[in-house]
Symmetry: C2
Subunit: 215 residues, 2 copies
DNA sequence: TAGATTGTTAATCGATTAACAATC
DNA sequence: TAGATTGTTAATCGATTAACAATC
């Protein structure tokens, strides 16, 4: 039974399904059952079937799920194949790392350009990606459709840069800074990558473990 | 009422509380109520009081929470101040970015050294941090207490490096690779930073929005 | 056909919210 | 004292799990 609005928890599990399915694909596995998937992902078979049933029927009784079909379905649900294009703000180490190591293309996203304020970088290029001055972005966006802005500038420029990005009409920001961008405007989609949230969770569990060990 | 085992959801909210409390502190706010916090974090006052009550009583009726006290309490719960030390594996762009921009020190964590296989990097240093050969790590760990290994190596070296780290006796890995490290050993703490999970969630919401706009 | 596994409905569990007495 | 806000208990809501008829 297809559902109208999907719980965020389900959305957050989809990328994990995708990853697992691609692993299976690499191993030339043709077919997978909800219990097999569950074992790999540490989820119950029930939950997996529930999750998929939010989007339709992808399995076959007595057999399981065809890995290729399910992978493609999950990828499509996640918007891979929508042909999104992105630009990078901030061509520092983090920006470099993302361009080099994060497979934008693998997720169906094309990176059109990078923007920075550093005159030493402007005019150069990162691999295939040209680096322009931030001030050129308004013009650039008028000529090119930009779906996603990747924000990897130093913290102190984060908010003003994000405002500029939103003003120019980009609808989604992948935010690697600590700045709070949700208030910029109603319709702006913001996805935060908060390193500190992750680090502090680790720190918490580490200190919990130490407490237990010390009595 | 202090609780024995804290729900993961609560743990994951603590860093957000910390961030907000430090913002308030920067604004010289002395006192904050659960409703004020709730407005900033988009949580109900009830939930905030429930969350804090897992750890003890930090407020005062009719007044609210003293920002300094609450910040310190949250920081302490999260293990800031435990004096953890970390090492970095992989001194590439991502490693650089983390050392330069992520405030390990701000979270009470000291970065002792970086390890890489690239002969061009080994022997150099990143800021104050010396870069050693990966093979030197066993010896290093014998001389220095290492609580956390930050794993920022290329994907193909991730699993073997992580095994090595665990063998040497480090108990926690902050994992920036796509490799699945949970199976390495029971007691190893692993905290994943999966860029792709975050990106794909954004991609999903973007495509949802477009579907709505197009009818 | 027998065995396996789906999709879905119902039951359980846990997390969020509401309510309120306690008290600063 | 009156007003405000906590900590906590109870109510609600949503998410996970279990069960099972349908069917490949």
């Amino acid at each position: 039974m297809k559902r109208e609005s999907i719980p965020p928890n389900v959305i957050r599990r989809l990328p994990r399904y995708l990853r697992t399915l691609e692993e299976l694909l690499d191993g030339n596995v043709e077919c997978v059952s909800s219990s097999q998937l569950g074992r790999r992902l540490n989820l119950t078979p029930s939950q997996i079937r529930q999750d998929f049933s939010c989007f339709g029927e992808f399995g076959q009784q007595g057999y399981g799920y065809n890995v290729v079909l399910l992978r493609d379905a999950v990828a499509s649900i996640l918007g891979i194949g929508s042909g999104y294009s992105a630009v990078l703000f901030g061509a520092g180490n983090l920006g470099h790392a993302l361009l080099k190591n994060f497979g934008f293309a693998h997720y169906g996203c094309r990176v059109l350009a990078a923007f920075d304020v550093d005159p030493a970088l402007v005019g150069s290029s990162l691999g295939e990606i040209p680096v322009y001055s931030v001030h050129e972005f308004a013009g650039f966006a008028a000529e090119n459709r930009v779906d996603i802005a990747v924000l990897a500038v130093p913290r102190e420029f984060a908010l003003s840069t994000a405002r500029y990005i939103a003003d120019v009409g980009v609808g989604a920001i992948w935010n690697f800074t600590n700045a709070e961008l949700r208030d910029i405007n109603e319709s702006l989609l913001v996805e935060d990558v908060h390193f500190s949230d992750s680090f502090l969770a680790l720190s918490y569990y580490l200190s919990e473990r130490q407490k237990q060990e010390n009595g």
